[in-house]
């Protein structure tokens, strides 16, 4: 098992590309597919990330960015692109 995170980090700003890259890697891990298969604008439910399961993504975000987000984050921001934008905003606000 590979987990990208090495513990919570809280830099002042995290480049969107880093967030996106980490997210794609994480979702590819859950779906047991390659990162190339995760399109930025594909609804996560369509590529197999079950709605109930996506509730657990909040834990990964907390571990990686030290940021507490709603478990329903992936419901309201249903693509990699949308979550990236949301997290970028949340991290900047902090």
């Amino acid at each position: 098992m590979s987990i990208a995170s090495t513990g919570p980090t809280a830099p002042d700003t995290v480049p969107a590309a880093d967030i996106r890259g980490w997210l794609v890697e994480r979702i590819a891990f859950y779906l047991e597919c390659s990162t190339e298969e995760i399109a930025e604008d594909a609804p996560l439910v369509d590529i197999g990330l079950d709605s109930v399961y996506s509730l657990t993504l909040c834990g990964d975000v907390e571990d990686r960015f030290g940021l507490t987000v709603e478990p329903t984050m992936a419901w309201d921001h249903p693509t990699v692109g949308a979550i990236t934008a949301h997290l970028t905003e949340e991290l900047a606000r902090r």
């Binding site: 047991e32 709605s51 657990t56």
Partner: protein, 576 residues
């Protein structure tokens, strides 16, 4: 109880039925339900069995429950009802379930289920409307199930689409209890074509105000158990409903469901414990009356072990259900996992117990007449009640995705001990705030500290606690190693097995806490030792047979309760 005195249930004094203490109300309800063995009692076992044979609910039974004002128990106190705490509510309903779970469900538990999304997300006007219907003796039904989709709510077919006059409903719901005679329904409908979890809304629909040609609700589904319940269907054919029928934010139903169902998953099993109580009473009555090899069957070693084991299992079920219900008030951030464990394990334990007791009863376990006929009714009712609302696979699938984080962040980490109040059945609680129930436990698990951290004075109890701590360590290791696919609802047997074992650990924790902090059954460790032995046995932890003295004491307690007409659960309630 004397069977020669005919029970003529009178109305429960209004002051008693409305007493703020749920224990007073529960005792009043028990008196109303009356003696089981009285053939003249309209809620006696004979009347209940006769109604079941007819596939009907006892009309007289329903009238008595209306007289008591049972619907008020489903309505929060702030809206004029009597609901204050989840465990007290379960205990109160258990009184009805002990006698006839068809009546418990058929009269109204589904109104309680339907009420939750209204209290959680409805406007003040919608809440008032629903409360008024219930408080005047009416019904609000919960229309979730579509047979084509089972528990897969995200794929429901019933749609509500915007129309000039508001919304139009198309599609149907099946297995909706009481839909043919209800005033209103909470309908779970798709309100957007988009995939995902923001495309569904709850609608509070006034069934009596719908155009007659656009709705049909006279369909009934006969069932193997709870035969008296009016499980029906409803079909909407382009049926107009007002735009303000939507409860809460449009698209918010999935989130509301995941909160509301934590409540139902925690309280329904606590009611179902009443069915197990009745089965055990029937089996014990049979075992004491039937003589074999010169003594009562109940005195032979194997039947005796079966009876004591069923008693211990019933106490486990009550401990887990009671702690689960109290957690809603005290640990609302953690009940997404815990409520699933309650709904998973309690029905399973009760069903397995039902099977073992049926072996003891022999032919009397399936004969539909005679003194033990109540057993076969309970045995038929139990599987229906166990599956209803959330089957065990759904509950396990709720737990599985959360296991890795519990393993990495929760278990064996320093933290506050579970509060003593968690373990005191029926004690007053802070109000239940549905908004505080979280959709994900974020790795938190306070209850499990009762097996990992707490030290117990009794060395045997302490050793058993540590046995489960060791088990949890193993679960943690395996959960952390779960491959990605096994962390999802598509998990293989491996993930589901871990969820099963974890539910057992939580049950052990609940028993330990109740024993340590509760005041009944007696602080005597016999029951907790037997209970934990049973749970450990089920996990293959090889604790050996329960110490002879503990099993002996539990047996004595069982016989004592039987003679004194006390319930077999944690409450030890006097029976009518």
């Amino acid at each position: 109880m004397s069977e020669t005195i005919t029970h003529a249930p009178g109305p429960v004094p209004a002051a008693t039925a409305a007493d703020p203490d749920h224990r007073v109300r529960t005792a009043a309800l028990e008196r109303l339900v009356g003696p089981a063995g009285d053939p003249g009692n309209p809620l006696g076992t004979a009347a209940v069995l006769a109604a079941d044979e007819q596939g009907e609910l006892s009309a007289e039974g329903e009238r008595l429950l209306t007289g008591y004002g049972l619907n008020a128990e489903f309505v929060p106190r702030a809206l004029g009802g009597r609901f204050t705490q989840a465990d007290g509510f379960a205990h109160l309903m258990r009184t009805v379930f002990r006698r006839d779970c068809s009546l418990g469900i058929g009269y109204g538990v589904t109104s309680f289920i339907a009420g939750l999304p209204i209290w959680a997300s409805g406007s003040a006007a919608q809440q008032r409307r629903a409360a008024d219907i219930l408080l005047s003796g009416g019904r609000v039904v919960a229309a979730y199930t579509e047979l084509a989709h089972g528990s897969d709510f995200s794929r429901v077919g019933l749609t509500a689409t915007p129309a000039p006059e508001g919304l139009r409903l198309r599609g149907g719901k099946q297995l909706v209890n009481n839909v043919s005679r209800a005033e209103a329904a909470v309908v779970f409908a798709r309100t957007s074509d988009r995939p995902g979890s923001r495309s569904h809304s709850h609608l509070l629909v006034d069934l009596d105000r719908l155009p007659a040609d656009a709705v049909r609700r006279d369909i009934r589904y006969p069932t193997s158990g709870v035969r008296g319940c009016l499980l029906g269907g409803i079909e909407f054919d382009d049926c107009p409903v007002p735009a303000d029928s939507v409860l809460g934010t449009p698209g918010g139903a999935m989130e509301t469901v995941l909160r509301a169902f934590q409540v139902t998953r925690s309280v329904l099993p606590g009611m179902v414990v009443g069915i197990g109580d009745t089965q055990l009473r029937a089996a014990l009555g049979f075992g004491l009356g039937r003589r074999l090899y010169g003594r009562p069957v109940a005195g032979l070693p194997y039947p005796r072990a079966t009876l004591v084991g069923a008693f211990a299992d019933l106490l486990v079920c009550d401990a887990l259900a009671t702690v689960g219900a109290r957690s809603l008030h005290l640990l609302p951030g953690e009940t997404s996992v815990q409520s699933a464990a309650v709904k998973y394990l309690v029905p399973k334990l009760l069903q397995e117990s039902s099977y073992r007791l049926s072996v003891l009863l022999g032919a009397r376990s399936y004969v539909r007449t005679g003194p033990y006929a109540v057993f076969q009714k309970a045995a038929r009712d139990l599987p229906v009640v166990a599956l209803a609302h959330a089957g065990s696979a759904v509950c396990q699938a709720t737990i599985v995705p959360q296991l890795p984080r519990l393993a990495e962040r929760g278990w064996f980490r320093p933290g506050a001990a579970p509060p003593a109040a968690l373990f005191r059945p029926g004690d007053p609680l802070p109000p239940l705030d549905l908004a505080l129930l979280e959709l994900n436990a974020r790795g938190r698990d306070t209850l499990s500290r009762a097996v990992t951290d707490t030290e117990y004075d009794d060395p045997r109890v302490n050793a058993l606690a540590r046995l489960f701590a060791g088990e949890l360590r193993g679960i943690a290791r395996r959960a952390a190693e779960l491959p990605a696919r096994d962390r999802t609802v598509l998990a293989s047997r491996r993930g589901f097995l871990l969820a099963d074992r974890y539910a057992h650990v939580l049950a052990a924790a609940a028993c330990l806490g109740v024993w340590q902090h509760g005041d009944g059954p007696p602080r005597d460790p016999a029951w907790v030792i037997c209970a934990l032995h049973r749970l450990a046995d089920r996990l293959g932890l090889k604790p050996g047979p329960p110490p002879r003295d503990a099993a002996e004491e539990l047996h004595t307690e069982l016989l004592h309760r039987h003679e004194e007409h006390l319930s077999f659960d944690l409450i030890r309630a006097p029976l009518a």
